[in-house]
Symmetry: C2
Subunit: 370 residues, 2 copies
DNA sequence: TTGTAGGCGTTATCAC
DNA sequence: GTGATAACGCCTACAA
């Protein structure tokens, strides 16, 4: 491995001068010396050892991503994070705790020992412990997606309540008054807020809240099917279902089919999280699309900006608006029309002092060529 | 930040001894000293600085993943890689070139400068240059998924030809003789092999090869729709289509719908790459599922094993078998039957001296709880 | 304008 | 058994 000494020797100069060239300190340096050194660097194809640089400079130019679940949402968001990192010259380390809350803490320690400059975190639970650990470790961080209600740190989240409300209002405008919903256990803010939006929409439109129409299920394959069947097998079954998660939406559709019911004849369904497959279902599925890619970009850029500014600013909360994608039923589709045709309802941000993030970004799905 | 010196001071010993404890060198050490030091470490919650360790030991315990496209396949495979890394105590850096072949090379350099111990690479093109760069950089590596025909290095791939043949044979057994196929441009082995499998199946069953039934399209949204429409609008249109990529399958289904045709009444479709949504289509879609998660695990463990064994072994090629998942048509589904019910055809490995990877692993989809 | 020397936090090779 | 001490490869006052 060629080192800075090799370059110095070849160029016949001291290594401090080489170091200056590497770091772009050309302030008081003769053109001649600079030329000699750059020549030598090229000749040896020398690249500095980041480890040594980092040890000295106390920064690694690497940020870490600590997520509870690298699920479909995060796998898209990850690309946004990665893209922003590349653009800003940062490396990216990733870790997943796979739903073991202890591992989130462990992973943070791991990242710290690798000396990442900052962290994007999205734990599943224990946000408080995570927050405390992060501050005690004195590591710059940004919460993303999932957060903690009393959190005072930087964060990038989607306005989940607004998304849920919009989904519900779509159903209400279609004339539904008995709307069921299905959720995963309320372990984090994202999940709680979806329920909040459900309730808020009912309240807003003067509809009664029937707790028995709310089904909360444990994570796991197929648990949603049972839940939805319970909902559908009642005599006073709901005429619409708001599914709050993509995995649950799969279960809901399976359940509806198992119950021998028809969408949208017997029951309407709106799902949270969009999928490339939604337009291909029969009928095409209306969903709330969360701009995952964009969130990844925002989270990374907020963190990096934080790393690069000297003076600490006050915590910033960036909210990203989900989009309701209303898809026509298959019957209404003209044969020559694109099956992907849909109306996109851009939710408006009602909150005041928050960063507007309504640029016309992609939803993260289909945002790259294949 | 607390250092090894702080620990030494607190314990009243030299830092050499502390270092021994950290590295588990208890060979010639009194119980007493060990106790004192462990106590001090705990008290200060001391964690060694990986940078300094790595600088000295010349290993970082980090591996890198360099992929051309963090698409749906790799986003699942990534979880496998990550899981194996965590199990073996390695960190993971990721990078994506987003279809810019130059960036693959750039990312490799970046990883090298960060001094990763090894690399899992899956470039889109220029496998030869990548291979050469990797060897010239003297960095241990494993090709994964996509590879290069003349490659002699370690690699973990799926037997794409076998997968394609099986898909085709399914269609042939259903009585189809005019089968169209749709592919992305043949830039890498994975893509070429799918075409190869298409041809091989025809040959094997004595069916004629009609080049005009083979549609090759550029990457990009919706290009597949045009291609499939060309296929379907001919008077002698094929009675079945083998779609070689998930994105293309979406386009194929859209195209079929736009042409006003019915699956499977007018035309049969088999897709490469499975999706959670496949069983929910009407009719459920038959696909070739590629065990992405498993491939990630295998790639990581092969690399790590390579890193940890002293003597270089001869290059190893691990082949993973895709699985054909035959789904019943909706009409045949009993209402109380799971919509996900499907026959899984486990392809048999016909090759001789290759590692068997037919354990009953998951396909990567649905392999985690949500 | 350039070079010398010390130190970043460890590990490893010696002595003792 | 334990402790100095010299690297590891780079950066950066400070001196020249």
């Amino acid at each position: 491995m060629t080192t800075i000494d090799d370059v110095a020797k070849l160029a016949g100069v001291s290594k401090s001068s080489v170091s200056r060239v590497i770091n772009g300190n050309f302030q008081y340096m003769s053109e001649e010396m600079r030329g000699k050194i750059e020549q030598a660097i090229k000749e040896l194809d020398y690249r500095p050892n980041s480890l040594a640089q980092s040890l000295k400079k106390k920064e690694t130019k690497v940020i870490g991503l600590v997520v509870g679940d690298l699920n479909s949402f995060w796998s898209v968001a990850l690309r946004g994070v990665q893209e922003e990192c590349m653009r800003s010259g940062y490396g990216l380390m990733v870790s997943e705790s796979a739903w073991d809350p202890e591992k989130d803490l462990e992973n943070i320690h791991m990242m710290k020992s690798k000396r990442v400059d900052g962290l994007i975190v999205s734990p599943i639970r224990q946000h408080k412990q995570v927050d405390e650990l992060l501050t005690s470790l004195d590591i710059p961080y940004v919460f993303a997606d999932s957060t903690w209600d009393e959190v005072v740190s930087d964060q990038v989240v989607t306005n989940t309540v607004a998304g849920a409300v919009e989904a519900m209002e779509h159903l209400i405008q279609l004339g539904h008054t008995r709307i069921g919903t299905i959720l995963f256990t309320l372990e984090n803010s994202v999940r709680r807020e979806r329920l909040e939006g459900y309730k808020e929409a009912l309240r807003k439109h003067g509809l009664p809240l029937d707790e028995s129409l709310i089904k909360i299920c444990k994570a796991g394959k197929g648990t949603g099917v049972e839940a939805v069947l319970e909902l559908l097998n009642r005599p006073d079954r709901p005429t619409a279902i708001f599914s709050t998660n993509m995995h649950l939406t799969l279960d809901v559709l399976k359940g509806v089919r198992q119950a021998g019911l028809d969408v949208p004849g017997d029951i309407s369904v709106v799902g949270y999280d969009d999928s490339e497959w939604a337009p291909l279902l029969d009928p095409p599925l209306t969903t709330v699309a969360v701009p995952a890619f964009q969130m990844g970009v925002k989270a990374a850029s907020l963190l990096i900006q934080k790393l690069q500014s000297k003076k600490p600013k006050k915590p910033k909360k960036i909210e990203i608006m989900p989009k309701l994608i209303i898809r026509h039923s298959a019957a209404e589709l003209h044969p020559k029309q694109s099956a992907d045709e849909a109306s996109v309802v851009q939710l408006t941000d009602h909150s005041a002092a928050k960063e507007k993030t309504n640029e016309n970004h992609s939803t993260g799905i289909n945002s790259r060529k294949a």
